[in-house]
């Protein structure tokens, strides 16, 4: 892992993503850029939802009276209205905000918990390590949606307002993801523990905490960005799945795409297409964007999969060719 870098490239070109962007060629670069653009649009929509959406997420009427239910797209309602009389376009926009919030909370919580557990478990070993590994494996093998359902029953008792709904969804997703971070960080920690620089730090008399966080953790986070992107897309799908099964956030508390899709099941049979296609497409686009970035990063980290530069452009800056064994 300790790759001797002789000539350090500039800081700019060593930044994550920028480095990968420079490394990529052809289709791979196209996929990476497309993914980044989609994510940027998604985040901007989430941040500026208040200004972008013509109506509020729970708004049923304006100065011209109530909107009316199941209006086809066009006129004042660009994408029509739902069976409940909400504006579809506004709810799609507001939904981005809910999705972004849940992903950020869920991913941050699970990274935090997973990294700490993995680090402690891998570093100290012993019976705690064995128990945690078995528990993590058991949870990992279990259908994540079912686990999320059980968690959301526990957290919100099946009912949800805005904050409790958001937190219930986020924590339910967190529990599902912790084992993944745990496994990766633990195995890296076990590997790092045997390295000479860790031993020398111990010889100098560094405390366990210092060795763990300063020496081991810093060198174990190589694969995190990859899992992070994969998890972010899974988080959206889990949130939408929960919403679709009726664990979503109430429509008066926030807009949630999965919940809207659930309400559109009966519309579909009647040929009303606009209530399902728009929120559904929003989910697909966001997951697509995040997955495109994740896949590209994965390919670029693996020399066997990287599309090769022509001879003259390759060379410098490609010193780290250690294999990324992604456990599928």
């Amino acid at each position: 892992m300790s790759t001797p870098v002789i000539v350090k490239p500039s800081i700019w070109s060593r930044l994550p993503l920028i480095r990968e962007l420079k490394q990529s060629v052809g289709w791979q670069r196209g996929m990476l850029i497309a993914g980044l653009v989609i994510i940027a649009i998604f985040l901007l929509t989430a941040i500026f939802a208040e200004w972008l959406a013509p109506f509020g997420y729970s708004q049923l009427s304006d100065e011209n009276g109530t909107f009316g239910a199941q209006l086809p797209p066009g006129g004042a309602h660009l994408l029509g209205t739902t069976v409940g009389g909400y504006d579809v376009f506004s709810r799609v926009i507001w939904g981005a905000q809910t999705a972004a919030l849940v992903i950020i909370i869920a991913v941050m919580l699970s990274v935090f918990a997973g990294v700490i557990l993995g680090l402690v478990s891998g570093y100290f070993g012993g019976w705690l390590d064995r128990v945690l590994v078995v528990v993590a494996d058991a949870v990992y093998a279990f259908p994540s949606l079912l686990l999320a359902i059980v968690m959301s029953i526990v957290i919100s008792g099946g009912r949800s307002g805005l904050f409790t709904g958001l937190m219930a969804a986020a924590i339910s997703i967190t529990v599902v993801f912790i084992p993944q971070y745990f496994r990766v960080i633990r195995s890296e920690t076990v590997r790092m523990k045997a390295e000479a620089f860790v031993e020398s730090a111990k010889v100098i008399g560094a405390s366990n905490a210092r060795v763990m966080f300063r020496h081991v953790l810093r060198n174990s986070t190589r694969t995190l960005p990859l899992i992070l992107t994969l998890n972010a897309s899974e988080a959206i799908l889990t949130l939408a799945g929960l919403g679709f099964l009726g664990f979503g956030i109430e429509p008066t508390a926030a807009a949630e795409w999965g919940f809207d899709l659930n309400k559109s099941i009966s519309d579909v049979a009647a040929g009303i297409w606009w209530t399902s296609i728009f929120p559904g497409t929003a989910i697909v686009l966001v997951v697509l964007g995040i997955t495109l970035v994740g896949e590209s990063l994965n390919d670029l980290a693996d020399p066997r999969l990287r599309t090769r530069h022509r001879a003259l452009t390759s060379g410098a800056g490609q010193t780290d060719v250690d294999e990324l064994e992604e456990n599928l």
């Binding site: 259908p143 949606l145 579909v268 697509l288």
Partner: protein, 366 residues
């Protein structure tokens, strides 16, 4: 009693297998591997059961959850006492474990049915759906994955990869709604909902000992109209569930075939003048399938989660559909029973998949 076996099992089973691998290198005893792997199911199931039990009991007793507010407090307390939910939690826990060992999953609160009966009746429907999904995944995912590997880094490869990501990125319920919209509502060629039309369902009811796997039952009636009816109802749910997994298979086959194409023996074949297409089909394909078989084990969990969503989309009355109904009725005894059953199913399938992988590839038997 179960606790002690569960905890002591893990280190015991790991140590000898490690030693073996070190002393003898690869190879190893298949029978021994099967036994060790079988014993490892116990802690997995035990942990999941305990977790689900404890989590479900964090929210209080199931009777208050289901009937709270609908019964006067004294009657409620009486029913809680009669069901034993006022006892200490660990007594209830050990009692539940004891029941599970004898195959008793309890009785539902709202409908007063044996949960094991529900599980076997509805489980058959879910099994059938998962089977259709897997078939679609194999038919779509594996050939396209090989094609993508063969055309690596050219535009069809890029298109296929985006297609795979699209399959994965589309939630099964949205895929289901889209398919419904196109084929049932606009083209009117396939049924919207359900596992069969009412007439066929009636015909199937009259069989003695129905398996509740409609395809088998339909063949037993011998009526071509029934078979056709069951199959047309299966197409859309099967596609919705299968395409999700197909995307993952496509990606995996592509990755693994590309990996094996870089191996020495493939280079050797290439240098003897074997064509690139034949290399993919004859040389790189089979070794690339081994990791896929192991990954199928994890797909089972995804497939079950997907089945819950697909069943809700298509009103396919399987375990997932039933589970959601019980959640809505706040019958948490039934929810717990079904979730625990699914945990056992997942653990056992993973075991079977591991054994198959070990049979195919001796290196797996560490």
């Amino acid at each position: 009693m179960m606790t002690s076996t569960a905890v002591s099992e893990v280190p015991d089973s790991e140590a000898p297998s490690d030693q073996k691998a070190r002393s003898k290198g690869s190879g190893g005893n298949l029978g021994r591997y099967i036994i060790i792997r079988l014993l490892l199911i116990i802690p997995t199931v035990f942990i999941l059961v305990s977790m689900v039990f404890l989590l479900m009991h964090l929210i209080g007793d199931p009777i208050t959850a289901a009937l709270g507010g609908r019964l006067p407090p004294d009657q409620l307390a009486e029913r809680i006492h009669a069901a034993g939910y006022d006892r200490p939690i660990f007594i209830q826990y050990f009692e539940y474990l004891g029941q599970l060992v004898t195959g008793n999953f309890g009785t539902t609160l709202t409908t007063n049915q044996q949960i094991s009966d529900i599980v076997f009746e509805k489980g058959a429907a879910t099994l059938e759906l998962a089977f259709y999904g897997l078939i679609v995944a194999f038919i779509v995912g594996i050939p396209l994955g090989m094609l993508a590997a063969y055309l690596r880094d050219r535009w069809p490869d890029a298109m296929l990869r985006v297609l795979a990501i699209l399959f994965y990125a589309t939630p099964v319920f949205f895929a289901g709604l889209l398919l419904k919209l196109v084929f049932s509502v606009w083209l009117k060629v396939l049924p919207v909902n359900g596992r069969a039309s009412p007439r066929t369902e009636l015909n199937l009811q009259f069989l003695d000992h129905p398996t509740n796997i409609y395809l088998i039952d339909a063949f037993r009636t011998g009526n071509p109209a029934d078979i056709a009816d069951v199959l047309t109802h299966a197409i859309l749910p099967g596609l919705a569930l299968g395409l999700l997994t197909a995307g993952i298979f496509l990606r995996l086959v592509r990755l693994n075939v590309i990996g094996t194409l870089g191996q020495d023996y493939v280079d050797a074949a290439r240098s003897r003048g074997v064509g690139e297409f034949r290399l993919v089909r004859k040389h790189a394909y089979k070794p690339a399938l081994v990791p896929i078989i192991t990954v199928i084990g994890l797909q089972i969990a995804l497939l079950l989660g997907g089945a819950v969503l697909t069943e809700t989309t298509f009103e396919w009355k399987g375990l997932g559909f039933t589970l959601v109904e019980f959640i809505k009725a706040r019958d948490f005894v039934a929810v717990q029973g079904i979730v625990v059953f699914l945990a056992v199913v997942v653990a056992v399938t993973n075991f079977v998949v591991d054994i198959i992988a070990a049979l195919i590839d001796p290196r797996v038997r560490y």
